[in-house]
Symmetry: C2
Subunit: 391 residues, 2 copies
């Protein structure tokens, strides 16, 4: 199931979750979603993890064949979980954490029929909270993703060719990402957000509202995936904002850089400089104990002071946040938004993405991923932050 | 919300779903998942569609801004759906279809608190069933996807270079797919299956079991996505099975072809010919009224007759099906499996993928997407079906 080397790391994660189980006077947590199975076992498998309040977890595996290790039990159906617990004199859970924000209604009914808990608590929130503060092992995976992500952006100007569409540009960047080790898939929490490997918006398209709750919109290539590039040619006077997700290790980083073709408007240049100013001010304040909402307010105050609030985080449609936690998924806690209740602590990881959409020109701004430490933020996605000319 | 040209098409889809709502004596269907919002409106948006048993649907939209049309109502939260119904004297639904196989438990609780139905029925199954038989409009999108998918496979041999890893080969194929218009994302029904754009397996890696319920396995590049290519070099004596998803139009096609480097074993060649034989026999029998389970049995009988049953659909781990419906998602009805209850009818679309895994050599076989018509199957992914040499 997992290597001997990974065991101490997994024990840290189990202990973190078990602390919350115990604090709620609950008996166990049942995990069945891919990202949380990955978090709790170090790999994706088809099945369930039953984590009691004390002691070691049980791994109930449907697929793949061939996994071995302590407490690895092969099953065909979840009903066999309760059979196993009964046979081994493990008491049925009275109070059970289930991933009720993710597991479907029908799956919930099936699982509660099997385990008959008297009380069900929110396991999605429990694991999300455990995942918010990363372990040293996770931070190293994030640093490694960040290194590859930074390397990708160093390649970006070289793949641009005159006359390219935003899509053609995107395809060459995607290829570079894959050559640098991107796993390709982009994991998002919740059922409503979808994207391919990231988004590239340019010119007028940057101002097209999208149904998805990303920092930027874009028409996309088809009504079945209305976000990002739309196949239009990148022309002089436009900016290109490249916002590719980085998933090089199972842990994501987020990073954006702004490119320009020819001369762009003074407004766009000013807005970009304001993004950098916002980044500097927010990161200076981002210490353990700081409220994420305060960080949002710092950003919004600077945008407003510069008279740019109508372009901040979008123009026709504006995003309601300037940053978001990252990890196995792109949208973890903390959320840097006005009504966020998240408080920073050391080991949290977040992407900060102050951006502006300038009509007819495109989007400008910056995005980096930061690790919160006791003494300040560590940037894991370094690289030139000025507007980079493609000509 | 949708163009005038699309209205007659959407009316067909609404009528199909309303027939099922009426047959169940229900009052309405509430749609909130992306693929079904796309099916019922022709585009993705963030929000809900309330489809009454009779009359036109209501589109409750959170994002993007700027959608217009009949019954388009902007809301901030789903509680406003019941406010709207009350204000407009639309009776609350007594019996309501909800997507209970997809909507999370918590979302179910919220929606049923809002609409207070006395009885909830399975809307996931209702829409899945409606989507199984495609309209002419949908069939044309599938044909268009198939054309691009076939074009992609014509490019495959040209992107191979001596000494490539399976990953490097995959990256160049992915790039060609995108240049031909692939939207990139790969939509799968259910929470447990994940993949990037498709899978390429070669040599020993073809026999590595995967947690996902795809036709083939493979170790993958990382335990966070254990499927497909694993970065090993393609060597003489190996086959490479390329199984890239095709999503060029919002509707997917599925297609695989087998490539070889140098001489491969007689067993592998024989198994490939058996795949073609199975395809021919299954497709000859695939007429409206045929049970999908019977099609599976035809395939298994031929594999067994040839003494190849231990390699059929995998070796260390075998898939339990030889085909699957395709549409907006890659795994729709009908399922071509031994215990499938699906019966073919005209307008269904399925991928047939008889494949074998030959230890040390790799996978061989064929996959095409077919439309069921009154007089037989129409292949939408034509192209050479013999093993194609890469040297």
């Amino acid at each position: 199931m997992y290597s001997v080397q990974l065991l101490p790391e997994l024990q840290l994660r189990w202990a973190k979750m078990q602390e919350s189980i115990q604090a709620a006077d609950a008996d166990a947590l049942l995990i069945s979603t891919n990202v949380n199975l990955y978090y709790a076992s170090g790999r994706i498998f088809l099945g369930y993890i039953y984590l009691p309040a004390n002691g070691k977890p049980y791994f109930f595996v449907k697929r793949p064949v061939g996994l071995e290790g302590e407490n690895v039990i092969y099953i065909r159906k979840p009903e066999q979980i309760s059979e196993y617990l009964t046979e081994h004199n493990i008491p049925m859970p009275q109070t059970l954490f289930l991933e009720i924000d993710s597991v479907s209604y029908n799956e919930y009914i099936r699982l509660t029929n099997i385990l008959s808990p008297k009380k069900v608590l929110n396991g999605t929130a429990l694991i999300r909270s455990a995942r918010t503060v990363k372990t040293d092992y996770e931070l190293n995976l994030i640093r490694k993703s960040g290194q590859q992500h930074s390397a990708l952006y160093r390649h970006v100007p070289a793949v641009y060719q005159e006359g390219m569409t935003d899509l053609e540009f995107s395809i060459e960047i995607e290829r570079q990402a894959r050559l640098l080790g991107s796993l390709g898939i982009f994991r998002v929490f919740g059922p409503t957000m979808e994207i391919f490997m990231g988004s590239i918006v340019s010119g007028e398209n940057a101002d097209t509202p999208s149904p998805y709750d990303f920092g930027l919109g874009g028409e996309g290539l088809d009504p079945s995936l209305p976000v990002g590039c739309n196949g239009s040619i990148i022309k002089p006077g436009m900016t290109v904002l490249v916002d590719m997700g980085g998933n090089f290790t199972g842990y994501m980083t987020d990073m954006s850089r702004t490119y320009s073709l020819g001369n762009i408007s003074e407004l766009a240049v000013k807005a970009h400089q304001t993004s950098l100013e916002i980044q500097e001010a927010v990161i200076a304040a981002a210490l353990p104990g700081t409220a994420a909402a305060d960080l949002y307010n710092i950003g919004m105050r600077i945008a407003t002071k510069e008279g740019l609030e109508n372009y901040f985080m979008g123009h026709r449609q504006q995003a309601g946040f300037i940053g978001h936690g990252v990890g196995i998924e792109i949208n973890e806690a903390p959320v840097i938004a006005p009504r966020s209740k998240d408080i920073l602590s050391a080991g949290m990881v977040f992407a900060l993405e102050p951006k502006f959409v300038i009509p007819h020109v495109g989007a400008v701004g910056i995005e980096n991923t930061f690790i919160v430490t006791e003494t300040g933020c560590e940037k894991v996605t370094p690289g030139t932050e000025e507007i980079i000319s493609l000509t």
